[in-house]
């Protein structure tokens, strides 16, 4: 059974429990049986997550968005708006905050939590001005010697008329080249959906982390299926072939650190995962901060140079 169907089943069981409670039924055996059933179903589903389940979890409507991470992990966060050229892209949030007292520049792709917010944030799909805001904040971080932490969560860069008119491709390319050369430590964390070049644009980093149930891919499974088989309906199959799970990426050596999620996914125990993540982030930042900038750049270059080479795959 897919995770989505398991969730539906659990929802039904929970409703039965509620009905029992409301009717004042004192049948405790039935109640505990139902509770056990729910736990078992969830455990079982998470014991054998298929890539399609990972895709489902990575896009789960209850999954914390990048803004949740920013608000939870950093103190005194102040948001900075705009690219100073065209506008402010609300699908990307950027600003400065403190991580355990250390000032850092934080950048994240933010999906909305409601339809209304999603309209405002364009479902987390940036326009060129979003990437140019990233560039501006990144260079500012370099000027003040602030490390950069990015949160990746996007279906991809927005494919639209305005986006093309204003140079989506150039904006992404500029991010790639610039981030390779920023003389401050960079940590990138894929927290949900890492979609294509639009994700990679904020994914050049000295340490790359991924939440256990997040994904990172060259295009969406739907896109893959519709190009390869002319049938977007075969996305499940595509997900299986594409090797897009955090575990796959870790195996390829593209991702350095996996952040564990509880059974049920991060959204069932947000505080717990945030605490873990904050510790790992701080630990890694301390290691990077100590490095000489030239050495940092050299290692960053080698990291990407030796990634996904014919020898490595």
């Amino acid at each position: 059974m897919s995770l989505k169907n398991t969730e539906l089943l659990i929802e039904q069981l929970k409703q039965q429990l509620e009905t029992l409670d409301e009717s004042g039924d004192k049948n405790n055996t039935l109640k505990s049986e139902l509770t056990q059933l729910i736990e078992n179903a969830q455990q079982e589903a998470f014991n054998q997550l298929e890539p399609e389940d990972k895709v489902y979890l990575a896009r789960h409507p209850l999954r914390p968005n990048a803004k949740s991470y920013i608000d939870t992990l950093f103190d005194d966060f102040i948001e900075m708006h705009g690219d100073r050229n065209y506008g402010d892209d609300k699908s990307i949030v950027g600003g400065i905050g403190l991580l355990q007292g250390i000032p850092v520049t934080v950048i994240g792709q933010v999906k909305g939590k409601t339809l209304e917010e999603n309209m405002e944030r364009n479902f987390g799909m940036p326009h060129p001005e979003g990437y140019r805001k990233v560039l501006r904040l990144a260079k500012q971080a370099e000027k003040f010697g602030r490390p950069i932490i990015t949160f990746i969560d996007t279906p991809g860069a927005y494919p639209g008329i305005g986006a093309e008119e204003r140079g989506q491709a150039e904006a992404i390319a500029a991010c790639l080249m610039t981030f390779m050369e920023l003389r401050v430590p960079i940590i990138a964390i894929v927290v949900g959906e890492g979609g294509s070049g639009g994700a990679l644009a904020i994914g050049i980093a000295d340490k790359i982390m991924m939440l256990e149930h997040s994904i990172y891919s060259v295009l969406s499974p739907e896109g893959f299926a519709s190009i390869l088989w002319k049938d977007a309906g075969r996305a499940k199959e595509a997900a299986k072939l594409m090797k897009l799970t955090a575990q796959d990426l870790h195996q390829f050596g593209i991702v350095d650190i996996l952040i564990e999620e509880p059974v049920g996914g991060i959204h069932t125990q947000v505080d717990f995962v945030m605490k873990q993540l904050k510790e790992v982030l701080f630990r890694e930042l301390m290691i990077l901060i100590d490095k000489d900038a030239n050495m940092l750049l050299d290692q960053r270059y080698k990291k990407f140079r030796n990634m996904a080479t014919p020898e490595a795959v």
């Binding site: 008329i161 992404i172 390779m180 070049g197 060259v218 990634m307």
Partner: protein, 297 residues
Amino acid sequence: MNKVFNEQRKKMKRFSGTKESKRSHVVANTPDGLYEKCGSCHENVLMEDLQQNLYVCFHCGDHGRLSAAERLKQIADDGTFEETFASDISNNPLSIPGYSEKLAQNRRKNNMNEAVVTGTCQINGHEYAIAVMDSYFLMGSMGVVVGEKITALVEMATEKKLPLLIFSTSGGARMQEGILSLMQMAKTSAAIGRHHNAGLLYISVLTHPTTGGVSASFANLGDIIIAEPNALIGFAGPRVIKQTINQNLPEDFQRSEFLLEKGFVDQVVKREHLKDVLTKLSKLHRISERNGHTDEP
């Protein structure tokens, strides 16, 4: 390489009538000789003439797609091209069904190992590190080997202090190699960055079509960006955009002239002038000239 040049003529024929050749020329065998039908205006042109006209249609000026071999023939001084990493071939890292066969088939029909040819050459005596992509090979998509060949070329150029010239044509990252293809964008851009920091010249020529992961990495990082007329250039493909916004796209949308208007290319240059423009740029950048070379007429 000469063998490859000779293949060009055969290749133009072989692609006639296939789905891939939409914008190139369709061959018709008539009693008067070998004609080609322009994919754009549908006029018939004698193949011999077309070849002499650099595969640009006499009637409508359509710049037909070129194989890497034909491009090199048009741009590099005779006998100066020396290929690097020619034998690199892709495997099937994600074990995608049918991909290995597709690769083998493309190697055979195009008489080349991957969608990019790299090396060094002279352009009217000016020495360049050059990469030419070939859209006849799996739509010029960038997988691990394409990314590796380009990165290695750029690194070699940086080391030998050579200017860099890249002719791009690509549908984007090669999806059959998944996330590994995506990472080629990072790798190539990193190498371009080092070449850039060494104060060396990089001229990027965008040809039809240049989209996706190639356009969002090295192709858009040139000091100078030149586009061939009416080439489709963009990040997202027009089909995806149309589906997303659910409305028709403007006629000239994502074409070279559109990009020029929006400020994303330096010049749109016709194929017949391309070598001249490159030569002028070389002189303007004081690219060293080989002794004893005389400019072609």
